[in-house]
């Protein structure tokens, strides 16, 4: 608590003080505050019922003598100085209370006395001690209005005084000196009339204004009156809104209008008279009149002022001289305690900075990822770099055309480059190129297989070459991809790799030994991965397609045969490019494995176990056996289009055309041989 503050309002008092009062007071009226709980943070315990308590209420209830044995009324000998103070304080109270909220009048006799003591403590410490002994400590501090005790008698002197207003306390006290002075005051009051008062006030106001005007930057005149007082008051204002400075002057100007409230003026006058007696300057008193003009929202603040004034003593009036704030800026530091902390408006920042958005630009290398120049070994033949549009891998129809013959020519040229003259005499696994030129400078990744040798393309491009599973797998992979991304096609199919048949062989071997279906077709088998589309790249689950292309390698004859599992028709079509007497049995043996095992996995109804095979010769012309691999791929590609295989003159067109398209250079190869194909139907 501020030591200098003499009295508070209850509602304007810090909460801590209120609670302290409630706690220490023996009886607290339930209408004022109610004790809810009994916890350690005492603040929480109390719930206030009535924030604005009238003086009488407090006097009768909480501080009544009957209720509180502790409270005893003490009459204090007050000094002469006390009188003016008291009177002034009364005025201050009135000003504040004008609005009707005279809430903090709790201290009845005791507070009054005590405050006196506190106010006088500087002057008469012994007296104060005496008071404190008698009174309970809480009250001493709480005692807000010193003059509350003033008897009603004074009220009649002051016409305006209502019950709330506390007449100057000095009268109440029995002291002789005070009584005498009070008597004088009464007389003065009686003698005064409204008109006189107004005139008097106006005069004083003019004087104040003059002094103010004179003492512009420097607090010359005002400071003279009370150097000490000004500091007390100034800080309050400075702490408050800066607007006050402007308001202060306006309040002064408005003062004449304020005459309506004659009550205060009366009081002031009285005070002034008293002060005259005391030899004080009265100009500050006039200024004080304007306090009511000051915003009502700051009652506590004004109280503080008044308290300060009391401490300072006679010079109080100037402390309320608000106008001088600007003039005395340095004084703020003198009384830091009294500062009412007013938080400045929160700094309003502009909108939070938004990070600059990055502008995305297309990739610099947004072109075909496939190199058309295969290094020094291959690119020397043509200086012109041809740029092929990057299309979908399967946009063009390689069966019906139109064909990009430049592409084929480039591919053929690239393939022939560095080729041995007698390349046909080499074995299939030997390089056909001169001097290690078969090795590709850059490995060609075809997703399934990593190609590092040109021989791979040679085998695919020239007839009568041995095709191994890598070729088949790559081509079937692209066919699979074609099916996967060409949804509009009515012919739904997928392919499997060469490993599928190997797995079937393994399982069939087990199946043949055991003879039981259960232990063979276990769920963990890799075949289920094929069927569910988990195992292969770009795989399609078998439940969404109609046909499955299965490359079958007849090991005994080194032959590639295409088997097509038609799930809808429950048949296996076998496309073979070679027909010979000792050949068919081997092929049918391989197909038999598929025909027996696949129904277990695909859960196809087994109508008839295929014991006989229907052979339908599509065409037979020439050596289909040597190019079985290419034929297989050609069959697959033709079938992928949903077409039948042309009976004669099958242009295989390099069934690896997908691969050709993929690498950017792949010859389209025409097979002008007739097609010998046998279609076998394996009803399941």
């Amino acid at each position: 608590m501020d030591a200098k503050k003499k009295y508070y309002r209850i509602d304007g008092m810090p909460l801590a003080m209120q609670v302290w009062i409630y706690e220490c007071c023996s009886v607290v009226d339930l209408n004022i505050a109610e004790k809810k709980t009994n916890r350690i943070p005492r603040l929480v315990n109390w719930r206030t019922r009535n924030s604005r308590i009238h003086y009488e209420f407090l006097m009768e209830g909480m501080f009544g003598d009957n209720g509180n044995p502790e409270i005893a009324f003490y009459q204090l000998p007050s000094k002469s100085d006390a009188i003016p103070e008291n009177t002034f304080q009364n005025v201050g109270d009135k000003d504040d209370d004008e609005e009707n909220d005279f809430t903090s009048k709790p201290p009845s006799h005791k507070p009054h006395n005590k405050e006196k003591g506190s106010s006088c403590k500087e002057k008469s410490p012994p007296v104060l001690q005496g008071y404190r002994k008698a009174k309970s400590t809480p009250f001493s501090s709480v005692s807000t209005p010193v003059e509350n005790n003033v008897p009603v008698q004074e009220l009649h002197n002051q016409p305006d005084d209502s019950a709330n207003s506390t007449p100057p306390r000095s009268l109440k006290q029995p002291q002789d000196t005070k009584a005498g002075e009070i008597g004088v005051l009464r007389q003065d009051l009686a003698s005064f009339k409204d008109s006189e008062l107004r005139l008097f006030i106006l005069e004083n106001f003019k004087q104040v204004m003059d002094t103010v005007n004179k003492s512009n930057p420097q607090s010359g005149a005002p400071c003279q009156e009370g150097g000490s007082k000004s500091p007390t008051h100034v800080p309050d204002w400075s702490n408050n809104n800066s607007m006050k400075d402007g308001n202060q002057i306006s309040t002064f100007l408005d003062k004449p209008h304020f005459d309506i409230k004659e009550d205060r003026t009366f009081q002031f006058v009285i005070e002034e008279h008293v002060k005259d007696n005391v030899q004080e300057n009265y100009q500050p008193a006039q200024i004080h009149i304007q306090d009511p003009l000051s915003p009502v929202g700051m009652p506590s603040f004004e109280r503080g002022d008044i308290n300060a004034l009391q401490n300072d003593g006679i010079q109080q009036p100037q402390s309320q001289f608000e106008l001088l704030d600007v003039l005395l800026p340095s004084l703020d530091t003198i009384n830091p305690k009294k500062c009412v902390v007013v938080h400045p408006e929160g700094v309003i920042y502009d909108t939070t900075p938004v990070p600059v958005q990055r502008t995305r630009r297309p990739d610099r290398w947004n072109s075909s990822p496939y190199s058309t120049n295969f290094g020094s070994s291959s690119g020397s033949s043509s200086n012109v770099v041809k740029i092929y549009e990057k299309k979908h891998l399967f946009v063009s129809d390689f069966i019906r055309g139109p064909y990009n013959y430049d592409l084929f020519d480039d591919y053929a040229m690239w393939l022939r480059e560095g080729l041995l003259v007698r390349h046909m005499n080499k074995m299939h696994d030997e390089d056909r190129d001169k001097n290690k030129k078969a090795k590709l400078t850059v490995n060609m990744d075809l997703a399934i297989h990593l190609i590092s040798n040109k021989n791979w393309f040679y085998s695919l491009s020239y007839d009568k070459q041995l095709l191994n599973d890598e070729h088949i797998d790559v081509v079937l992979y692209y066919l699979r991809k074609k099916s996967k991304y060409n949804i509009s096609s009515h012919y739904r199919y997928t392919t499997v790799d060469c490993l599928f048949k190997s797995k079937i062989d393994e399982i069939y071997a087990t199946y043949a030994q055991v003879g039981s279906e259960i232990c063979v077709a276990n769920v963990e088998s890799d075949i289920y991965d094929y069927i569910n589309g988990y195992r292969l790249m770009a795989a399609i689950p078998w439940n969404t397609i109609d046909n499955v292309f299965i490359p079958v390698n007849v090991k005994q004859k080194n032959q590639w045969v295409l088997a097509v599992l038609s799930i809808v028709e429950r048949r296996i079509y076998v496309y073979d490019s070679y027909r010979a007497a000792g050949h068919n049995s081997y092929v049918s043996d391989e197909i038999q494995k598929l025909a027996q095992l696949l129904p277990m996995y695909v859960s196809i109804d087994i109508a008839n176990n295929s014991d006989d095979t229907q052979d339908q010769d599509i065409a037979y012309d020439g050596s289909g056996d040597l190019d079985c691999g290419i034929y297989l791929l050609a069959f697959a590609e033709y079938l992928s289009e949903g077409e039948g295989i042309p009976v004669q003159y099958l242009d295989s067109k390099l069934s690896a055309s997908d691969t050709a398209h993929y690498c950017g250079n792949m010859q389209r190869r025409r097979w002008k041989k007739g097609l010998l194909a046998r279609m076998r139907h394996h009803p399941e």
Binding site: L467, L499, M537, N558, C628
Partner: protein, 91 residues
């Protein structure tokens, strides 16, 4: 010891006849070395007669164990290569 053992990766190569060979290799080992070692064990002179699959995908012999993402205990399938056509048929 623990760190030393972690440096190596244990691989299994399973042949078509369900015979399994175990290899303890360094992560930076080129697959070709493993394949050649396997082929020699199988008494094959050329490792290209085998096709090595892992999860249905072919293993390139030119990549290392790390590049292929092989982990400890992975099982590699070894298949004998298949071919057809060409001069092989002219026997």
């Amino acid at each position: 010891m623990a760190e030393g053992s972690r440096k190596f990766i244990k691989l299994k190569i399973k042949a078509q006849d369900d015979t399994i060979l175990h290899f303890k290799v360094n992560p930076s080992t080129i697959m070709k070395d493993i394949f050649m070692s396997y082929s020699s064990k199988k008494q094959m002179m050329n490792y290209k007669v085998f096709r090595f699959f892992f999860d249905g995908k072919r293993l390139s012999p030119k990549k290392t164990v790390n590049e292929l993402g092989l982990k400890n205990g992975d099982e590699i399938d070894a298949m004998i290569h298949q071919d057809g056509g060409g001069s092989a048929c002219n026997y």
